[in-house]
Amino acid sequence: MVNLETRIGKLKLPNPILVASGTFGHAKEFEKFIDLKKLGGIVTKTITVKPRLGNPPVRIVETPSGMLNAIGLQNPGVEKFIEEKLPYLRKLKIPILVSIMGYRVEELVELTHRLEKSGGFDGYEVNLSCPNVSYGSSSGAVMFAHDASMIEAAISAVRKETKKTVVAKLGPDVSDIGKMAQAAERAGADAVSLINTFIAMAIDIETRKPVLANKTGGLSGPCIKPIAVRMVWEAAKKVKIPVIGIGGIMKTEDAVEFLIAGAAAVQIGTANFINPCASIEVLNGLGNFMKKNKIKNIRELIGSIKEN
């Protein structure tokens, strides 16, 4: 038997295979395809204080070995989430991280406050890096994930409201991911998860218009994997808290690569769209890989990169 158990702060995960926010709905969408109870954990679709209609179409476009999305955080809002989505997630009895996003620190506080009252989940993933919504009230506002001091402000505000696990989801469009991860660590995050999608663009050369109604979107899929691996490797060297690796994982080998680079757990994202059974297949493959290579404990794999 191989031991797949891993930890994110106080939170014990039965295995390191999680599913990424925005790629798994609120899990029910996948119940006909896989046994959800086998997952290491679920990160929900991001919720906001108020319901959001999302962006107008076109919302997605395929690019070589990847896709752009600009969904615009379509979600029912925190009240409906607690009422309609959380009871189902709670029944699965596996680690549940609720992804939350605010345009201002106060909104994150309000969300956390409301969710704390409800309970019935294990932690938060603070989405500091959605590329498809405008931030703040002034046009000069920037994404939390683009500024270390803003990451710190957002995470410490959430930290004050909860004893549950807090994960900071970082974006890739920064000059030094290590510094951003350190900012989250300083603010009391239990872990950082990276990377979110890259801000990217596709143009229709006939009409000369952006393909997406939002003009830009987030790039995901196998094309971003090598960059994601590099960023996880960089971040893992800079912080003591666990790093959760995300970015283009399609198969077991990809997940193993992230673990070796230093990720304590990984999230399967875009692959869920192409193969709704991808997460479980990666999990089964991971067990087989460990058996084949006589690795008894997943900890022997995490951060085992040989640099010379």
Binding site: E29, K32, V58, N69, I71, Q74, I274, P276
Partner: protein
Amino acid sequence: MFRQKCLVVKQELTAPGHFTLTLRSPRISKNARPGQFVQIQCAEDSCDPLLPRPFSFLTAGSSDFSVLYQIVGKGTELLARKKKGEEVWIVGPLGNGFSVSGSKNRLALLVGGGVGIPPLYHLAQELLKKKMNKKNIHVFLGARNKSLLLCEKDFDRLGVDLHLATDDGSKGRKGFITEPLEHFLAATGDSRQIYTCGPTPMLKAVSRLAARYKVPCEVSVEEPMACGFGACLGCAIEVKKGETKRFAIACCEGPVFNSKDIVW
């Protein structure tokens, strides 16, 4: 909803640039309703293209189902290379489908254009199975030219009433299919139901006619999508209920909508 590897039973050229692919899967087949669709993974390693491609059912029997598709890009090019005996990954059946229940005495008007025609053939077969009189089924097909009037012979074999239009006048009426449809709507007054699938401008025109003649109309839309089962929220379409507008998710709330609900 299932995901499984399906055996290619047959692959045949049905019209210039159009193929019919028959696949084996009793459980997908038996559960398929007209207007529903499958997602087909066209590339073996699923990297190029990355996303599966959605196709509505042309037929669905007790063990096999088929889809009729046009080669429009890399995905469909790869799909056309699949030969009998090979296997492809399928997810389906997906979506809601057309409503087939209703009075047997109503007139069913099936209005299709281009690759929007196949699900209407599936629907016609299902309506006949539901004991609808073939005289009450009127099929309106539009295409650029006669060789692209998909399923024309198949509909003919069912014995349903066919109305044709081509852009170049090589078969049927020259012009859009909405012209013969309007004549028909003006000339008949019984209880009627329109079902339509095809290019968006056609759907829009058919919906307008349906509203003008106060005929209920079900529209099957196509939007760019990633997953096909409501996880990515990519295939948004604007719908309204009274004054309230929102984005519906075409793959699971649709692809068939009441034409009155769509913000055109």
